[in-house]
């Protein structure tokens, strides 16, 4: 199974607004597998948050998906789930959408990386050596 998947290549899935989904599917990442499960989800303003959450968790569980693209404004809705996902694969990439420009301060990965630079931790780098 693993060998088969390696030969076939893994999928890029997308959760986002209409234009993001239409665009990336036009780019050729869309797939509907034998069980009729699509690898994309279109979110509009009426989509309940629980549905987005379920879809995200389903994509994380699928072993044929390597990248999950999610619009940053959608990611904000299910931030706690995204923050809880720490495994490198599938990689969750927050992408901007046409009406929500990219905000680095919201990005889960960048916030995690920035957390390493908080003042208490800096003492680890020898900051206390400079104090005296």
């Amino acid at each position: 199974m693993a060998l088969h998947a390696a030969v076939k290549g893994k999928l890029i899935s997308v959760i986002g607004d209409e234009d993001t989904c239409v665009g990336f599917l036009l780019g050729g990442i869309g797939e509907i597998n034998k069980n009729r499960h699509p690898n994309f989800m279109v979110v509009d303003k009426n989509t309940p948050v629980s549905e987005i959450e379920d879809c995200f968790k389903r994509f994380v569980k699928r072993d044929d998906i390597d990248i999950i693209l999610i619009n940053q404004n959608v990611a904000e809705l299910i931030r706690h789930v995204i923050d809880a996902h720490s495994a490198p694969v599938p990689a969750v990439l927050e992408i901007p959408s046409k009406d929500h420009p990219y905000d680095a301060s919201k990005d889960s990965i960048l916030r995690r990386a920035k957390g390493m630079f908080n003042p208490e931790d800096l003492s680890m780098f020898g900051a206390e050596n400079y104090a005296n």
Binding site: I12, E31, I32, R36, L93, L110, M116, M124
Partner: protein
């Protein structure tokens, strides 16, 4: 030089290594933001072409209504990514799927689609490359985070013992 390095206590070496990783991490974070901005401009450009096609073909002809649903026949993605291990970091790369049951997504929107649709397609195909580039940077950031954690706990344990 070599002699000097040997003389350095283990802890100093660990600290120096940590310095290097932290510096690299800052560069990677900058790189990630640059990639995201590339993705953003691609999406913006692509959206303009989608909007132009929508103007030419009518409101509902470029919408989610045209995307395949669970009831349509199954097909494979034409663009997939492959994993490769590089220096202990998982890296992905874009490959064309060689499976036979791929479709041209343009056909969902009609047989004769405007030129803008073709342009939008090539822009989004390019955006996929940026996306994978960004994911690779992100994977490196995550590996670095883990390494920093390990080095830190090592340094603090050394501190306690000395």
């Amino acid at each position: 030089m070599n002699k000097q390095e040997q003389d350095l206590p283990l802890k100093a070496v660990a600290c120096e290594l940590l310095d290097k990783i932290v510096l690299k991490q800052l560069h990677l974070m900058e790189e990630k933001m640059r990639c995201e901005l590339n993705i953003e401009s691609s999406i913006n450009n692509g959206s303009i072409h989608l909007a132009k096609s929508r103007y030419i073909m009518g409101q509902s002809s470029v919408s989610t209504a045209r995307l395949p649903t669970e009831s349509s026949s199954d097909f494979s993605a034409s663009t997939v990514c492959e994993t490769a291990e590089e220096d202990g970091v998982t890296q992905l790369k874009v490959v064309e799927n060689e499976a036979e049951d791929t479709v041209n997504p343009l056909r969902w929107f009609g047989v004769l689609v405007p030129q803008n649709m073709h342009k939008a397609q090539s822009i989004f195909q390019n955006a996929i490359n940026y996306v994978v580039e960004c994911v690779n940077v992100q994977l490196q950031i995550q590996t670095n985070l883990k390494n920093m954690e390990v080095l830190r706990s090592y340094i603090s344990s050394e501190k306690l013992s000395s």
